[in-house]
Symmetry: C2
Subunit: 132 residues, 2 copies
């Protein structure tokens, strides 16, 4: 995945599936490594030690990620949709490497490194669309 | 739903469910009328007269919509997540009214009115989050 728009994007939206079958949506920050997308989670400020997106991904790993650009000139709209299989990294070397990639992309993470699991999405399908 | 951030937002992301159970994601422009969100579809430029989000919503009306704000100052992040039941308006007065609301919000629609069905989402749950 050497799509410059994807690599440069600061935010994406992650869709997982709730236990009742309804899609669940959250904005995520992310980093890419080859065909894998990584997103981290902070648990400290939360009341519980679980997070819906993570529990959803454990139960149903087929997830979808969307990166898009909005512009009032609708000729400049575009989006990139990724389908993939999610893995939850609770610890280990791959999690550490993902956190390093995230910290390299987002200075915000250098001050307060995420303390929760990392979601890895092995991308199996990429669809791109642009208005022109 | 008198949430100013929601009303003012220019773009949202709609999650439906694909026939294989995987979440499907597209960016949408939308207008609100009370507790109903409307989004229109253009079919003319498409090869087929169907669109995945519409067929998904017909088959599984439980959908989720996310409006979020990204900022490099992560203290300013926020999102609003809507869960609701989708209805597909192929024609009729409600579709006409929705198109008028969309044209009032988006000048782009005044030049080229959407020719496809309108997706109505009757919102049953609103969750708001902000970093501060």
């Amino acid at each position: 995945m050497h799509e410059p728009r994807l690599t440069a994007a600061r935010v994406a939206r992650l869709a997982t599936t709730d236990p009742d079958g309804r899609p669940h949506l959250v904005p995520i920050v992310f980093a890419l490594d080859g065909d894998t997308l990584y997103s981290a989670v902070n648990l400290k400020p939360k009341r519980s030690r679980t997070l819906r997106r993570i529990e959803n991904a454990r139960a149903r790993p087929d997830v979808t990620v969307l990166v898009d650009h909005y512009d009032e000139d609708w000729e400049r709209l575009w989006w990139i949709r990724l389908r993939g299989r999610a893995r939850v990294l609770d610890d280990g070397k791959e999690r550490e490497r993902a956190l390093a990639l995230l910290a390299a992309k987002y200075p915000q993470y250098r001050e307060v490194p995420p303390d929760g699991p990392v979601l890895a999405v092995d991308v199996t399908q990429v669809r791109t669309w642009s208005a022109t």
